[in-house]
């Protein structure tokens, strides 16, 4: 084992963990204020139950030696996952690093169902999804499964994380159905600075996501790190140019979106391509997502925060372009079209399609199963009122005016007689 590698991977794990709260801010700013807490909680809550089921079961299904489709249960309950070497780092560290990926992937899906999915149903969904969809798909690519055998390249999760989450998001948006106001009233972001803060923190955390996926502190991490800066920079530049070329203004929400799209695009390629290819890839990757965002808003598909346009198209573009731009001189082995290995492009397309199909199908099954046990949607009245009050009993921006303190020892009857208006400056508790 190597202490420099261990140090980098400890830091990377913390960086990737930060991406989930960052996503909460990114998404939270894009919804209406009455749903701000609910939307942020959809990301935050993944930090709890998803991390636990990952440690107890998901990790084993993804990374324990098994068949080509799913891992065995030999690592269940973290049995045999300790300080023994996994490459140059302890096995336990590898498990927890992968855990941070398992946490953010289901949280990405929430963008397609915000402002109307019941929180309980969502909670049950992400726990089932990470076990039934994320873990096997991670096994296919990173755990020695059939996509790995086929030679599919996915450095940090273009297919495993982004195409996977986006395919689930598309199905979830369709099964849960559109918001009542969608297409009837304008639905505007309530806090664009939150969204920009989220995009910035996502970029910061993504250095751990991509460069950490080298699983060591060496030259591959350096390459992935560099590409994680250059590709989103190129996407942002291209996005800005398209904005201006179309005669419009350069928007803040657009810039925040461009950064995320660029990060998604470079994720599968980060450790396989040279820095100039990363610039090219980032710029090319802006185009499909840019126009898909504009087109989607005109359709009946209420993928509310555009998970499909940003993560689906970005992830697919990135995965396919990895098959174009991978170069042995940079990757130390993996070759793509420009390095005389055109078949890689076909392998990449196949891997995207397989992940899309499985994730979409399994997500449909999980949601339909859940719908038998519990309603997936909140009531129309609660949808109007906002999910912060209906599903969490809190508000994001309360001033505390008219808040009557409920005193613990009084009965309801005496309570009513002696209500005192709580003087709360700023509503703090």
């Amino acid at each position: 084992m190597n202490n420099a590698d261990i140090g980098w991977m400890l830091l990377s794990t913390a960086l990737v963990l930060l991406m989930t709260p960052a996503l909460a801010f990114f998404y939270g700013g894009l919804v209406r204020s009455k749903n701000a807490l609910n939307t942020m909680m959809m990301s935050f809550v993944a930090l709890g139950p998803v991390a636990i089921v990952w440690a107890l079961l998901g990790y084993s299904l993804a990374f324990a030696p098994g068949n080509p489709f799913v891992g065995s249960l030999s690592f269940a309950g973290l049995r045999g996952v300790g300080m023994e070497a996994q490459g140059t780092i302890p096995h336990l560290l590898f498990m927890v690093f992968q855990g941070t990926f398992a946490i953010i992937t289901p949280a990405l899906i929430s963008g397609a169902v915000v402002e109307r999915m019941r929180f309980n149903a969502y909670l049950a969904f992400i726990v089932l999804w990470v076990l039934a969809v994320y873990a096997p798909v991670a096994h296919w690519v990173w755990g020695g499964g059939f996509l790995a055998t086929m030679g599919a390249l996915d450095f940090a999760g273009g297919a495993v994380v982004h195409v996977n989450a986006a395919s689930a998001a598309l199905v979830a948006a369709l099964v849960v159905g559109p918001r009542k106001d969608f297409g009837r009233h304008a639905i505007l972001p309530h806090n664009v600075p939150f969204t920009m803060l989220g995009a910035g923190l996502l970029w910061f955390g993504w250095f751990g996501f991509n460069a950490g996926s080298a699983l060591s502190a060496g030259t591959t991490a350096t390459l992935a790190f560099t590409n994680t800066l250059l590709a989103p920079a190129a996407t942002l530049a291209a996005w800005t140019l398209i904005d201006m070329a179309r005669g419009g203004t350069v928007t803040a929400v657009g810039a925040a979106t461009a950064i995320v799209v660029g990060l998604v695009v470079v994720t599968p390629a980060a450790g396989y391509i040279g820095p100039l290819s990363a610039i090219l890839m980032g710029a090319i990757g802006a185009v499909p997502s840019y126009f898909a965002l504009i087109y989607r808003a005109k359709t009946k598909l209420d993928d509310s925060l555009d998970v499909v346009a940003a993560h689906g198209l970005g992830g697919a573009t990135g995965a396919i372009l990895t098959g174009v731009f991978a170069q042995a001189a940079w990757s130390g082995g993996a070759r793509g079209l420009i390095d005389g290995h055109p078949v890689q492009v076909v392998t990449q397309i196949a891997s995207v399609l397989v992940v899309m199909a499985y994730s979409g199908g399994a997500t449909f099954a999980i949601l339909k199963l859940l719908a038998v046990v519990m309603p997936l949607r909140i009531t129309d009245r609660h949808e109007k009122l906002g999910l912060d009050v209906s599903d969490h009993g809190e508000e994001a921006y309360t001033h505390g005016d008219g808040a009557i303190l409920v005193k613990p020892k009084e009965s309801a009857a005496t309570q009513a007689a002696t209500d005192a208006i709580a003087v709360q400056s700023g509503g703090g508790a």
Partner: protein
């Protein structure tokens, strides 16, 4: 001339505005207010503190109209704001002593007669 003051649910505001514009009521002012209209208070919890929210968010519309516009305005607000649940709000019609349009100095009836909207340069 009458001043129509309406208190409505914030989540119905888009519907109300749509209905008003449809009825060609173009001049109005809104403000965000809080009030209590006999509806059930909901309970919120912040750490150990439980509170009953006695005041609900509402939107107040103020619309100065000429007499023959009173009923269409009321109808539009009813159409947009009614959900059937307690807490839908109130519409109040008040007499007005005088209205002056600041831009032109026009008074009373002339001041509340809509002009064709002119695009600002």
């Amino acid at each position: 001339m009458k001043l129509i003051v309406a208190i409505v649910r914030p989540e119905q505001l888009s519907d109300v505005l749509e209905a008003l514009f449809h009825a060609e009521v173009r001049g109005l002012t809104i403000s965000r207010v809080q009030g209590h209209g006999g509806e059930m208070e909901h309970v919120e919890n912040y750490r150990g503190t439980s509170v009953k929210m006695a005041l609900a968010e509402k939107v107040r519309l103020e619309i100065g109209v000429s007499n023959h516009f009173v009923q269409p305005t009321i109808d539009a607000i009813l159409a947009g704001a009614r959900t059937g649940e307690v807490g839908d709000g109130k519409i109040m019609v008040l007499p007005i002593e005088k209205i002056v349009r600041i831009r032109t100095g026009e008074e009373d009836q002339d001041a509340v007669t809509p002009v064709e909207p002119v695009e600002n340069p």
